[in-house]
Amino acid sequence: MRKLAILMITILALTILAGCPSNSAPGKDRYVVLSPEVAEILASLGLESRIVGLTTECTYPTSLRMIHKVGAFGAVKLEDVLALKPSIVFTTALEQDGIAQDLSRLGIRVESVYPKSVNDIFLEIERIGRITGSDDKAAELTASMKQSIHEIQIRNSSKIKPDVYLEIYRDPLMSVSDKSFVGELIEIAGGNNVFDTLERDYSRVNPETVIAAKPDIMICFSQDNLPNILSRKGWQVIPALQDSMIFFEDSIDPDLIQRAGPRIIEGIMALEKIYEHWRTSTP
């Protein structure tokens, strides 16, 4: 009987040990990343192997999907983060301020990354480079991004600017201002954001002001569909609807312009394509 009990306890102990994450030993460079944009930045600096935990929203590059998940963007499991014994936890602001404070109180090093403008994105990439000891790679990455933006701005400087309305939410309608990096990207690509002067980066807008602004192009990330948009009362006077210049997620991946990471260059180029389509299709 006693032998059986010892055997069972041993099996139980081994099972518990086997269930523990294999990489739970403390190490120097073990990053838990709660923000998808930081995950993209770290990956582009070649630091993917240092990431030991992520939130479910960190989906790019696809190789990150294999890494252990510690919850969702706004619902992080604190114990899971601690179990991974991270050397640094990368968070973003607003919704993640609370978890960042909790982790700091527990003595974990937290680095919050929240770029609000395109320039901030460069500064944050360089800061992440310094934090991770990848200064040179970060400098190289930002220099290449700046160069791309410069070239894009030069080739679009003499072109006609379409008025662009980006809808990020329906009921209530929400759009972006130029204070946000998303609004900046619209402008850098050669367009004119119709809500450039909203009070907040991302803000509720009145349908009347959308109609009055008469945008040439509408980019819809609000999960609405074409028949619904075309049948919105009073919207038929909008050039974007009259000329079928409404673009959805299949024309431009929202992550390319809504994640403040290295892929914004791809986002700007996708916007450029849309603008070019407008220039060649409308009289």
């Binding site: 969702a72 963007f73 706004g74 619902a75 919704e95 939410y169 329906r170 009921d171 209530p172 309608l173 929400m174 909203l198 009070e199 907040r200 803000s203 509720r204 807008v205 009145n206 349908p207 009347e208 109609i211 009055a212 999960q223 609405d224 619904n228 049948s231 919105r232 009362k233 009073g234 006077v237």
Partner: protein
């Protein structure tokens, strides 16, 4: 003084009309915006304000509870849950349908719980309504927690959203529902005398030939349908249904007929004014539910102290 009391309703109607005209022509919109966007919003606001205030006055009398309001019986939470659930499934356009189904199912559930051995019990109705309302509120909180990307939509439903974008087909449907809402309000108005009598006692009401049980069922079912319509399109807007009837009773004391009609006019114009402020006071549009309380509470306190 008596002449003043008599002139008050007329004065109120004139002010209400003035508010509606101001709401429509403010900022000089072009004809397209005026008729296609602003007028539908005004109609939604007026129907919502009238319904909330009207039902509030009926519930306060029927449930003999000064704290009764259109949302006390949990119907609004059920409607909000239904519309938010469909929105989180990506079916944004079907939100009103979800709200309506939510309201009807909640109504059936609350009514079933309010019966004791087949007999209606007023206290059970309120308790059942509060409990069912809490259940659906927790459901809404769960949906908000699980669908962070829908937080704005959920908050706008919970804090009131009169800025709904109508498609042409939705507008036709809403016009039909508005006629239904007005018909229900007219029916509730016709029941005013019966409600006055029922407020004395059920026995007395029965002795003068009122079928108390049947009248209560009818009021409960029809008012639930009305709440379903309102919440489906405008979300949950606090204060109007609770305080409007009290303000009216302070200003124009009288029978339920008088209180009900005045509540309709005051509720509608008050909500139009609140929405006007919510749209115009800051660059960012404020949730109308916040404005109704911000304007209404100080006014009510002032009135309470004065009267």
């Amino acid at each position: 003084m008596k002449t003043m009391q008599k002139a008050l309703p007329l004065f109120g109607i004139l002010i209400s009309l003035g508010i509606c005209v101001l709401y429509l022509i403010w900022d000089k919109p072009d004809m397209n915006i005026l008729w296609q966007v602003r007028f539908p919003r005004l109609l939604l606001t007026v129907i919502t304000g009238m319904s909330l205030a009207g039902i509030g006055s009926v519930y306060q009398l029927m449930l003999a509870n000064p704290l009764a309001e259109p949302y006390i019986l949990g119907i609004s939470s059920g409607a909000a849950f239904g519309s938010i659930l469909l929105a989180s499934l990506g079916l944004l356009v079907l939100m009103p349908l979800g709200g309506f189904i939510g309201a009807i199912l909640t109504m059936l559930l609350v009514w079933r719980l309010a019966q004791k051995h087949g007999i209606f019990d007023r206290s059970r109705l309120i308790i059942a309504g509060v409990i069912v309302g809490m259940f659906f509120s927790s459901g809404i909180s769960l949906l908000m927690y699980l669908n962070r990307e829908d937080t704005v939509l959920i908050l706008s439903t919970l804090m009131g959203n009169l800025g709904r974008i109508f498609s042409h087909s939705e507008w036709v449907l809403f016009q039909g529902l508005s006629i239904l809402a007005l018909a229900i309000l007219a029916w509730l108005f016709l029941k005013s005398r019966a409600l006055d009598i029922m407020s004395s006692s059920d026995h007395y009401a029965s002795s003068v030939g009122i079928d108390v049980h049947r009248t209560r069922i009818q009021i409960f079912v029809l008012s639930s349908i009305l709440i379903g319509i309102v919440v489906s399109y405008a979300g949950i807007i606090g204060f109007v249904g609770l305080i409007t009837p009290h303000i009216i009773r302070l200003l124009i004391p009288g029978t339920q007929k008088k209180v009900f009609l005045s509540s309709l006019v005051f509720g509608a114009s008050f909500l139009v004014l609140a929405d006007f402020v919510a749209k115009s006071i800051t660059v960012i549009e404020l949730p109308v539910g916040v404005v109704t309380s911000a304007i209404g509470c100080p006014f009510f306190i002032w009135l309470l102290l004065k009267k």
